[in-house]
């Protein structure tokens, strides 16, 4: 079959029964960490660590600094902005945009990643089957990622235009009243979620597909011998073995979705009247969407997003730990 030379020999996994529950392979015994091992481990990490320090430390510091000082355009250019502590954060928290933006961020993120993941997984399973053109079609699914977002997001607003958009024209054809997709407060968020799901499907498809490839086919054969049907094979073999990859896909999806701003910005500018504003677009609007940039509050909103990602990151690491020690 498609084992590569070094592919794992199928370990005796009893699919029927409860054994498959503990399927994610353990990442090693819980032996101590010898000192020489630590040296080797950090030797492998050194390039990335250096890289992180060189390229991320300054921007991260800059983002913090922007949010903790009272920057005007003048002090942004000339320096000397007074330290203002958490004043920018207080300002942002007290802003009437805060509540709706928080709500939209949560809805946008959760709905987007749930649907993207489900569709991506379904497509990945579909594409692991052999049929003519499967590799080509799978490659074509990536085409949306080749387009600069300004183009793909503009195409979506083209399709969803209230008057000359194709979607409304089709709805009209089947006798449904036109919907003001981008221009009514009721639909704006839905529209940008739809577009964002579309953008996110290729990512989920590719990562999950690669994850599926690492599952040894022998396991499926074993399951088939045990008399498992397709559905059981999915839930008892595929799903548990895919857990580490699923977890990282969801986590990355979450992070990328939290920071999405260009799609929303191009399609609705976060409007009408904040109805599709998320933290990311709000941060951008404060910092760059006006003739007079407000860098401080913009950076503060951006940092709130980082805090949200941090919380989810902690959850992820905790879950991962538990799996490793399971």
């Amino acid at each position: 079959m498609n084992n590569t030379t070094h592919a794992p020999v199928a370990r005796p996994v009893r699919v029927s029964g409860e054994a498959a529950r503990a399927a994610p392979p353990r990442t090693g015994g819980r032996a101590g960490r010898p000192r020489s091992g630590q040296w080797a481990a950090w030797a492998f990490l050194a390039p990335v660590t250096v890289y992180l320090v060189v390229f991320y430390a300054y921007p991260l510091y800059r983002n913090l600094d922007l949010s903790l000082r009272d920057y005007t355009v003048r002090s942004f250019v000339q320096g000397g902005a007074p330290f203002s502590g958490l004043a920018n954060y207080r300002k942002v928290l007290g802003d009437p945009t805060f509540g709706p933006a928080l709500l939209h961020t949560v809805v946008f993120t959760l709905v987007s990643i749930a649907v993207q993941f489900a569709l991506g997984l379904a497509l990945a399973v579909f594409f692991t089957q052999y049929f003519r053109l499967s590799a080509t079609l799978r490659a074509l699914f990536l085409v949306p990622w080749l387009l600069p977002l300004i183009v793909s997001a503009s195409t979506w607003s083209w399709l969803l235009n209230s008057d000359s958009g194709l979607v409304n024209s089709v709805l009209h054809g089947v006798g449904v009243a036109p919907v003001n997709w981008l221009t009514s407060p009721r639909w704006a968020l839905v529209s940008v979620i739809i577009a964002n799901i579309w953008i996110g499907i290729p990512f989920n498809l590719v990562v999950l597909y690669s994850g599926l490839q690492t599952i040894s086919p022998n396991l499926y054969e074993a399951a088939a011998l045990d008399g498992a049907n397709g559905w059981q094979k999915f839930w008892r073999v595929t799903f548990p073995l895919l857990r580490p990859v699923s977890a990282i896909t969801l986590l990355l999806g979450l992070i990328y979705t939290l920071k999405v701003f260009d799609i929303i910005w191009i399609m609705t500018k976060g409007g009408p009247t904040d109805s599709s504003t998320t933290f990311a677009t709000w941060s951008y609007r404060l910092g760059f969407g006006n003739l007079l940039p407000q860098f401080g509050p913009g950076a503060a909103v951006g940092n709130l997003l980082i805090v949200m990602a941090l919380i989810f990151g902690l959850v992820y690491i905790r879950v991962q730990r538990r799996q490793q020690s399971a």
Partner: protein, 418 residues
């Protein structure tokens, strides 16, 4: 598997990786616009006209002005919405261009940031420029640049649609007659008017002629006049005289709608003249009417030529020569023709009208126009403009009544400009 311990190899590989990253960095050629070092060397010019490539009249003019001043010119074009941040960032890093051409409402922001020199410092002569146009570049009695040309808004109309609907364009003199014309066009099965009410500065730009045309003032958004202007737009949408898509229209999108030939009127700018000829139907232009007649003051658009602050002030004299060259009468005529703008001085305007009589209406509109940051609003303008466009969006999308939307906007603007 013939495995041999070679841990060093990994360390080696890691080092190669770092060296590769560093090496990529080190051996690449540098061409950053380091303009402040000395008085000689290339002079950098930034403009917001990426549509012009190196073979265009505009870039050739830049080269010509450079050689006339005895220097080489390095020109970079940026997207106009990107240019403000780019200019601020460059100034922060002492990398400002020698000459910066920038959209006029941005002048107050850049001046406030201390990025721009005054025309007094650089001895740029602004005496020929019409005062209402120059005002957009003046803050606190100082002038920070010179307009390269001006544009403003007016109403384009589709002649055949008006004919079919039985409307005489010359009778459209105030809001009532305009609305009546829209009603007739809609009754004739056509669409009324398209404009841009997007939630950005473009939306405010397009709303201002109606706002000012009602006699409202930017310092009080929720005045009865302001509400009248917003109600006019809201009613048009409600009655179907204007499409719902205006809420999300940029001025380009709005123009594309007009270009389909399905709309009677479109509010758009001087710069569309060249495209208007390509639509394939007969069009006319009337000024935007005030509420009770007369021409409404439209906001001035168009860019200013400015000289950003340099560490080496010796560069200013050459920069001044470049600015003078770019804004001289002959060059101004060529540039404004390419950009489809109205020149900022009387003699050149006369020359433009002599060459193209249909520019008459635009020259009049530019005379009536008013800078957005004028009336000493300066950097207060952006803080008023954002609540204003938000109010327009709220009213048009039906989430608030015009009065309520503008009251909310006024309280936001008041606390921001306090």
């Amino acid at each position: 598997m013939n495995v041999v311990t070679r841990r060093r190899r990994v360390l080696g590989a890691s080092l190669v990786a770092v060296a590769l990253a560093g090496g990529l960095v080190a051996c690449s050629s540098s061409s950053g616009g380091d303009s402040g070092s000395e008085a000689s060397g290339p002079y950098t010019i930034w403009d917001p006209y990426p549509q012009f490539d190196n073979s265009s009249d505009w870039v050739q003019l830049l080269d010509k002005c450079g050689s006339a001043a005895g220097v080489t010119v390095k020109r970079t074009a940026y997207d106009t919405t990107d240019l403000t941040n780019k200019a601020l960032l460059a100034a922060q890093q002492n990398n400002s261009p020698d000459v910066l051409i920038v959209d006029n409402p941005v002048i107050s922001t850049l001046a406030d940031a201390g990025v721009l020199t005054t025309t007094g410092d650089t001895k740029v002569d602004t005496s020929a420029v019409e005062p209402n146009l120059l005002a957009a570049g003046q803050i606190g009695g100082k002038t920070y640049g010179i307009p390269i040309g001006a544009n403003t808004l007016a109403l384009y109309y589709n002649k055949s649609i008006l004919r079919a609907a039985g409307v005489d364009a010359t009778t459209v003199k105030d809001w009532a007659s305009l609305t009546a014309a829209l009603a007739k066009a809609t009754a004739a099965g056509k669409k009324g008017i398209t404009f841009s009410a997007i939630g950005t500065e473009e939306g405010s730009f397009q709303f201002l002629p109606w706002f000012w045309g009602a006699g409202a003032n930017l310092t009080k958004l929720d005045s009865a006049q302001g509400v009248a202007a917003l109600s006019l737009w809201t009613d048009w949408l409600r009655k179907g005289y204007a499409p719902n898509s205006v809420i999300n229209n940029t001025q380009t999108t709005s123009w594309q709608e007009f270009a389909t030939g399905q709309y009677a009127f479109a509010e758009n700018g001087t710069w569309q003249l060249a495209n208007a000829k390509k639509t394939g139907f007969d069009y006319g232009i009337i000024p935007i009417p005030g509420q009770n007649g007369g021409t409404a003051p439209a906001p001035t658009g168009g860019e200013f030529v400015t000289v950003p602050v340099q560490k080496h002030t010796a560069r200013y004299s050459t920069s001044e020569k470049l600015v003078a060259c770019l804004t001289s009468s002959d060059n101004s005529y060529t540039t404004d023709t390419t950009l489809s703008y109205i020149a900022p001085t009387d003699p050149v305007q006369a020359k433009q009208v002599a060459a193209t009589p249909e520019l008459r209406v635009w020259v009049d509109a530019v005379h009536a126009a008013k800078g957005r940051t004028s009336d000493n609003l300066g950097t207060k303008y952006p803080k008023i403009s954002e609540p204003m466009w938000t109010a327009v969006q709220a009213a048009l999308s039906g989430s608030k009544a015009p009065q309520a939307a503008l009251s909310a906007a006024q309280s936001t603007a008041a606390s921001a400009t306090k």
